[in-house]
């Protein structure tokens, strides 16, 4: 068990890369090259970055949902193929069959995601069960929104993970919103961790978006999971900057007020990481290049052949 140190430069790189990616998506979305809904992670970057830095890229397994750009990038999924997938191209992760809502890359054990709220949580638990049965010392990282905890399956899965002592880290990204519905409109008690504890799973609440903090807690949690084979639950407060889906702000809809502090907090975090990164210019250059390479690649790629539509329905 080695203690990892928090690597600011890496954190800055990932945070910035996620943000720049989402910004690039916003920029080109109007041109309709991405003919599909996107759920942006703007505002929630620190979670993916902190967790990913704490995880073991070779061994850990990642489950996420339709809002997975940040996770995918932070955990090191194939960046070009991700873009090509957004473009619906043959060279994408799933030849375009999946799109933004179902990203996946088995090279980093990033399981293709689901767009049905809460539906991958039991699968993450099942994967953790397999790890345990196979005596592998990997761990599952399962990202989900607080909205997924409205679903009974969350509690069923949580109980089962505790019952069977499974190596899984639940990461609840609590942005207090499910589409336009506030958490308190959906849950009587907002103390999520207390509920989770009562089901027998250790839980930790992280109040702010400090990447380093998230990294530290996640790192410790993951080490504990590996050692004791016990699930751990992290609740991380966060803030969704833009609309639930699509690329616009949604403040003018009136259901919530623009929280300038929250918006600032996230930028401050980014700047803080930048300040701590000596060669940040190089980092930024690298990101720019990666983005333009990926875009080039995606623009140039072909759409899948029509006959490909009937392939891979069932496995031979």
């Amino acid at each position: 068990m080695t203690i990892k140190k928090f690597n600011y430069a890496k954190a800055y790189y990932l945070f910035k890369k996620i943000r720049s990616t989402e910004e690039k998506i916003i920029e080109i979305y109007e041109s309709d090259v991405i003919k599909s809904p996107v759920h942006l992670s703007l505002g929630q970057e620190s979670i993916a970055v902190g967790i990913a830095l704490a995880s073991n890229k070779k061994k850990d397994i990642v489950f996420s949902n339709y809002r997975s750009h940040a996770h995918f990038i932070a955990h090191g999924g194939d960046y070009k193929k991700m873009w090509a997938e957004l473009f619906g191209k043959e060279s994408g992760l799933s030849s375009g069959k999946a799109g933004s809502m179902h990203l996946g890359d088995l090279d980093i054990n990033f399981i293709f995601t689901s767009a049905i709220v809460g539906s991958a949580i039991s699968e993450a638990v099942g994967y953790a069960l397999a790890l345990k049965l196979k005596k592998l010392n990997s761990r599952v990282i399962c990202y989900h929104g607080e909205g997924a905890m409205d679903q009974g399956t969350f509690w069923e899965s949580l109980n089962f993970s505790a019952l069977k002592k499974l190596p899984i880290l639940f990461v609840c990204e609590n942005n207090h919103l499910a589409i336009y519905s506030e958490q308190k409109k959906r849950m009587k008690t907002l103390n999520i961790c207390k509920k989770v504890e009562s089901f027998g799973v250790r839980s930790i609440k992280i109040e702010d978006n400090s990447t380093k903090n998230i990294f530290k807690y996640a790192h410790k949690a993951l080490q504990g999971i590996g050692k004791n084979s016990q699930p751990v639950f992290l609740e991380i407060n966060t803030y969704r900057e833009v609309d639930h889906v699509g690329t616009n702000y949604d403040f003018e809809l009136g259901y919530r007020k623009k929280d300038k502090q929250q918006l600032l907090k996230n930028l401050n975090e980014l700047n803080y990481l930048k300040e701590k990164t000596k060669n940040f210019l190089q980092v930024e250059k690298k990101i720019s290049k990666e983005i333009s390479d990926a875009l080039n690649y995606s623009y140039k790629s072909n759409f899948p052949k029509i006959k490909h539509i009937e392939s891979n329905v069932t496995k031979e």
């Binding site: 599909s36 994408g92 999946a98 009136g254 259901y255 029509i306």
Partner: protein
């Protein structure tokens, strides 16, 4: 009035008419009001008559059933048909059977509104139709209106019906305009609608494929072929008679299923025709390709039935020739749709 507005209008009329009616579901009171179909109902009628729910389809369906048993007339709204898979236990094991188990003492006047998604990369989990799954279960009624006029009239009927009604809307229809009376009117279940008369072939559509059928009919006119187009409208109970009469005349039938074909409603129609009626006729089914729905545009397009496919097949069935490629027709609902959902 648009299809979405027609739904809103029916709902408002019923909320006014009957104090036991209420609307609930994820986001029904949000600024978009489920594509406008529930817009501001919570403001007009109060939070008890229109309210948001947690994301838990199974239990919210149970809540609807429980309230219905208690004499209310709940309308439960789902953003996608796909999400009903989480509520199948309540729908199949409970709602459809309570009237029977109680031998008529209880009933479940619950309307479950479900929206079929399509186009612009909805992907495998936001595009399912599953009409026939519900039609398979005794005790349920299944309605899939296509026009603004029908959606309003059948929704009012659904709300006043004493049974669980799966009320199937289609995302691509919400903006469509049509003539819709302002006030209260009902459209009987179990009746299809003949949308155009013709003698060369019968084309049966349902939900959005009716639009394709109408477009196909237009294409066929180019070849002076006259298609009789039927909008199925009521999936369960099924109006087999209109189809029988039409097919007796045309001797040819294409059913365009807004769903996968295997064990679908089109198979049911064919079987009833063959089992009972001694008509000689030729028949073909068109529907979703038997794959999950792909996200990328070109594959997605070929996943669905199209006016061209229907017209070409009709032409071949009628003329026994393969020498016509109809011109491309623009399905405005699909091509103008730029998401997100």
């Amino acid at each position: 009035m648009s299809y979405a507005d027609a739904i809103l209008s029916a709902t408002k009329i019923m909320l006014k008419k009957n104090k036991d009616v209420f609307v609930f579901g994820q986001g029904v009171d949000d600024p978009k009001g489920h594509y406008g179909t529930t817009l501001n109902l919570h403001k007009d009628f109060g939070n008890n008559r229109c309210f948001d729910t947690p994301i838990c389809e199974e239990s919210m369906t149970g809540v609807g059933i429980g309230a219905a048993i208690a004499g209310m007339s709940p309308i439960l709204v789902h953003q996608r048909m796909d999400f009903l898979m989480l509520a199948m236990n309540q729908i199949v094991n409970m709602a459809s059977k309570i009237h029977y188990i109680s031998d008529g003492k209880l009933c479940v006047p619950l309307v479950i509104r479900a929206c079929i998604g399509r186009s612009w990369g909805q992907g495998a989990q936001h595009s399912q139709s599953l009409l026939s799954v519900f039609a398979h279960i005794p005790g349920l009624k299944v309605i899939a209106p296509t026009t603004p006029y029908d959606v309003k009239g059948t929704l009012i009927t659904a709300i006043e019906d004493k049974n669980p009604v799966i009320f199937i809307e289609h995302r691509m229809l919400y903006k469509n305009q049509g003539l819709v009376p302002e006030g209260y009117y009902k459209i009987e279940f179990g009746k299809s609608r003949i949308l155009s008369k013709g003698s060369d072939i019968t084309i049966v559509g349902m939900s959005f494929t009716v639009v394709d059928c109408i477009n196909a009919k237009k294409l066929l006119l180019e070849k002076s072929l006259k298609a009789e187009v039927i909008d199925l409208l009521s999936i369960q109970p099924l109006d087999i008679n209109k189809i029988v009469i039409s097919v007796k005349k045309t001797k040819r039938l294409i059913i365009v299923e807004n769903d996968w074909i295997n064990c679908g409603i089109s198979a049911e129609i064919i079987s009833r025709l063959v089992e009972k009626y001694k008509i000689k006729f030729e028949v073909k089914r068109i529907g979703y390709l038997f794959t999950p729905c792909p996200t990328t545009a070109p594959l997605e397009k070929s996943f669905y039935p199209s006016p061209e496919k229907i017209a070409t097949l009709s032409y071949e069935m009628i003329t026994k020739k393969k020498n016509w490629t109809p011109k491309k027709i623009k399905t405005k609902e699909i091509e103008e749709f730029k998401g997100p959902f």
